[in-house]
Each structure stands twice: as structure tokens, then as C-alpha cells.
């Protein structure tokens, strides 16, 4: 079982990202689950979304999770919420920030000693898509770190999932995914 927790703000696309990732993984014959905690949260409120991936049908519906990966797609959430909660020794953190990994850890001691990678998904999204929607670039970074799939295979599948959007936006998302793949450190 592979488990992922997303930290996001409502409106940044974590749910879409989690569902998109689940969709791509499902095409390879694995079983998936994607869900989120909404509450009565309004746009901009901190929220979490989740992915589970397994070889067998996923029966577990508990919300509690000890994630293998934590994605943080809003840079401020590292400070305003505990992104390391229920973490395991080998949990991998991929965090959106304009800082270097070293600077980030220095600014948030909770990340000390953890496997942390950084990438500026906000800037990448602004420069490619034209809006601060950091969900698809995060998935590009995840493909690099996890080596889950070849990036071209992943992009082809994401094109299908994003097909209802205008071609210009789909192309911009592909650029964003590739840039995050190349730039994550």
C-alpha cells in the first residue's frame, strides 16, 4: 500500500490533483482511492487530500493515515499546520517553496532529519499556466522523486484527464509538469 497526503488550500486543486493521479495509476491495473477532508471549508482554508494505491482492492476507509509521501502545494502551510503529523521514519516530503531545501529546513525545524525535496510549484504554475494552481506541477515533481512512471507516459495520461480544458491550458500544464520534474531538488 502506497499512501499520500496532500496539504493544500481549498481552491488550489489538491482534490483534482489527487483524483487525476488516481486516474493515471488506475490505467496501469493498480487499485486506487482518492479523497479529501472538506468540512465546511471555504476557498483559501487549509485542507488535506489523500491517495491510496495498492495491488488489491482498497477496503480501508479510515481517514487516519501514516503517509509514505506528503505533498505541500502551498508554501505557508509548512508553518501554519503540522505537515509531519503521523509521519513515518521514511516518509518523503515534497514541498512547494521559493527557498532551497536547506533554507526551508532551517526555517521549519520539524523537517530536520526528514527526507525533504523542494520545488516552486507556485512560480512554475504562474509562469506556465498563468495562475497559481500548483497541483499538476506537484505531480511532475512526484514522478521524478518516486520514479513511479516515465514522465512521457504520465503526461500522455494527464492530457486525457485534462482534455475538457482548452488546448492552450493543457499544453501549459504539460510544460508545468515537465518543469517541476526537471527542477525538483
Amino acid at each position: 500500500m502506497l499512501e499520500i497526503r496532500w496539504h493544500s488550500r481549498a481552491g488550489q486543486g489538491a482534490v483534482t490533483g489527487a483524483k487525476g493521479l488516481a486516474d493515471v495509476i488506475s490505467t496501469t491495473g493498480k487499485h486506487v482511492q482518492a479523497f479529501a477532508f472538506y468540512g465546511s471549508a471555504k476557498r483559501g482554508a487549509a485542507m488535506t487530500a489523500y491517495n491510496r494505491v495498492d495491488d488489491a482492492v482498497i477496503m480501508n476507509h479510515e481517514k487516519y493515515m501514516e503517509p509514505d509521501y506528503v505533498f505541500v502545494i502551498d508554501p505557508a502551510l509548512v508553518y501554519t499546520s503540522d505537515v509531519t503529523i503521523n509521519g513515518k521514519e521514511n516518509t518523503v516530503y515534497i514541498i512547494t517553496t521559493h527557498m532551497s531545501t536547506k533554507e526551508l529546513i532551517a526555517s521549519q525545524p520539524r523537517l530536520e532529519g526528514k527526507k525533504v525535496y523542494t520545488v516552486d510549484c507556485i512560480k512554475i504554475a504562474q509562469e506556465t499556466i498563468g495562475r497559481a494552481i500548483p497541483n499538476t506541477p506537484m505531480l511532475g515533481a512526484f514522478m521524478k522523486i518516486s520514479e513511479m512512471y516515465d514522465i512521457e507516459f504520465f503526461k500522455e495520461n494527464m492530457k486525457r484527464i485534462l482534455a475538457k480544458l482548452p488546448q492552450k491550458i493543457v499544453d501549459a500544464n504539460m510544460l508545468a509538469i515537465q518543469r517541476a520534474y526537471d527542477e525538483v531538488k
Partner: protein, 407 residues
Amino acid sequence: MAFDKMELRDIEVWDGNFAAAQALRQCQVDVVSAYPITPSTPIVEGYAKFKSDNYVEGEFVMVESEHAAMSGCIGAAAAGGRVATATSSQGLALMAETLYQASGMRLPIVLNIVNRALAAPLNVNGDHSDMYMVRDSGWIQFDAFSPQEAYDLNFVAFKVSEDHEVRTPAIVNQDGFMTSHTAQGVHTIDDDTAFNFVGEYKPMNDMLDFEHPVTHGVQTEEDWHFEHKARQHNDMMTIVPGKIDAAFEEFAKLTGRKYNQVEQYDMDDADIAVVCMGTSVETAREVAKEMREKGIKAGVIGLRVFRPFPFASIANALKDVKAVAALDRSAPGGTPGALFNEIAGSLFNSDTKMLLSGYIYGLGGRDLTKKHLVDLYTELQANADAGKVLTQQQQFIGVRGPKLAYL
């Protein structure tokens, strides 16, 4: 007017709401009369979008309340159409009066309830308070444990509800958020096969059949009211269970997915068992398997059909079990939980002397964790070993503060 068919992949990653909306499209529902409410909104929104995009030939009626939504469904069903809607929680509470009208008028309508807590305090998350609130409303009630089942059970619901010997409305329950907003792989049925399973809608006593005028919504006082209600109950008890079994059988032939009124998992040699509904059934199945690795013979019973209550089947499923927990996801309001009471009732005049304890859990979407279930099974095993219930008969799982136990 022709409509377009939709190409689906064999497995689509859908949440429970979208799965239900797709089923409504594939059944080519004639009228959806709806007033949206969280977390059921995307079901009727989905149908409306399919209709706007010409994937369904029907009518979407926007109304001013849930009371009006079900009233619109009643009118459309009486007129002779295939009818469905969806609601949750407070919406269902406002709809409650009209639910009794629909069942009393013997109108086949499918209502998707995305189960959610009832205020106060206001809460949009999943529990079974709304399902329990309308349990005696004369509707058939199915319960889905996953998005796949939310999809599948809609087809079964139309099939059973519209049968001319049944003509009783049916509810398909799914857990708010835990199913409705959780995306998982759903094995799809192609449009033609899905539609052929439910078939063309065949109206009966429809008001638009001007050759055969009928009266709907009549008044009967003490001279006839009881006979009508008795007939309704009689059909629920004697006709509906067989029709549900037949529909499950036919559905299994079509898809390979076999449903049962009482779903049994790891029950063949079980010493202890949990009885519950919704997503909890699946989590409990996973934990039961893990308990078995530790040598504890744990099983799970999931109630697929809540009404008509499968009284004999559940008693039979539990007859060789030593200790059983009935899990109720609804505030009991001064009594044991409904499942506890109904299971106890099914066993009372039998030879079964198993130990029954009741648990209230998960109110307002409170998480039921695997750890909770491990503790629960451990407690049941202790009861089985001791030959008596070592705790009080009603306990609460996962609530903060001092431990609560009664009876």
C-alpha cells in the same frame, strides 16, 4: 429526440456521487426533480449536465425545497415516468412527509441518500442519522459500501422498485464523503447493457393514460387506511425480498458482481462478528482478515438491504457465532441503536444464545479507524471466551472525554 451515448472505459475512477449520476443517465431517467444539498449535490448536478450535453432524454425540474423536490417526483411518477432524485440530512428531513406519500401511493421512485448527520450542531459529514430517520417510511432501502456499489445498486433499485408487483419506491444509501467524495475504480457497464437491465419504463395506473382514468392521493379514514397500510407491509414482507434476490441474481449474471441482502465476509467459521453498514463494512473486512492472522476467528456482516429488514437471513447468518457487535452510526436518542434492537429481535425466539453488544460510532463523520476495530474485536473475543458480555451493552467508539457506557 435522440440522445448521445457515452463511451466509458472498463474501469473509471469515479466517486460515489458521479457513479450514481452515471447510473441515472444510463437508466435514462425521465424526470429528476431536485433541490441540491451537500454532500449529495453532484448526483443531481451530474444528471443535469448529462441532460444539457444531450446524453439523456429527460427533464430536470428545479424546485424551491426538498419537500417540493419529492412532490415533483411524486407528480412525475404518478404521471407515468421513470423518476429519481438525491438528497441528504436536513433535505431528507424536510422531504420526510412526502416520502410517506410516495410509498403509500405505490410510486416507483429512486432516491439516492448520501448519508449525513442531522443538526444540531450543523455538520455536513457522514453518519446514518438520515437513513435511520426514514427507516419506517415504507421505502425499500439499499446500502452501498463503496462507489462501485453506489453505481450498481441504482440499477437494482430501479429494477425492483418499478416491478409491477412491487411498485414501491427505493432508496440507495451511500456514506457522505467516505463514499460520495471518494474516487475509486468503478467497473462500468456499457450504455446499452445497462439500459437493457432496467428496460423501458412500463407505467401502471399512470395519470396520463386517459383511456383508463385513475385517482391518486386519496383520503381514507378508519374504514380503509389500515387495509392499505397492511397491504403495503404485506408486499414488503412477502414480495419485495424475492424480487430483490432475483434482481441481484440477474445483475450477477450480467456483471459477475453478486450482491446479497445480508453480506457475509469470513463468516463460515467465525467466533466473533461485527454487523454494520456503509464504508465501515469494508474497513472491518480488512481488520477481520488481520485478526485472523493473529488466530482470532473474526467475521463481518454488512447489511445490504435495511428495508425490508432481512430478519430471518441475519438470524441465520449469526446462528453459530459466539459474540456479536452491532454498530450503529446514528445518535440513539435514549435507546439502544436500531441495528442492536433489530438483530436482538431477530434472535430472541431462536435457539441462538450468542452475546450481543451495541456500539455507537462515527457520528458527524468521526473516523472509524482500524485501531478502533482491532480493540472492538479484542473485546468481542474476551466476551466469547468468558461466555458473557463483560462490558455494558451499549458503548461509544471514538468519542472524547470519559468513557460512555450504558445498559
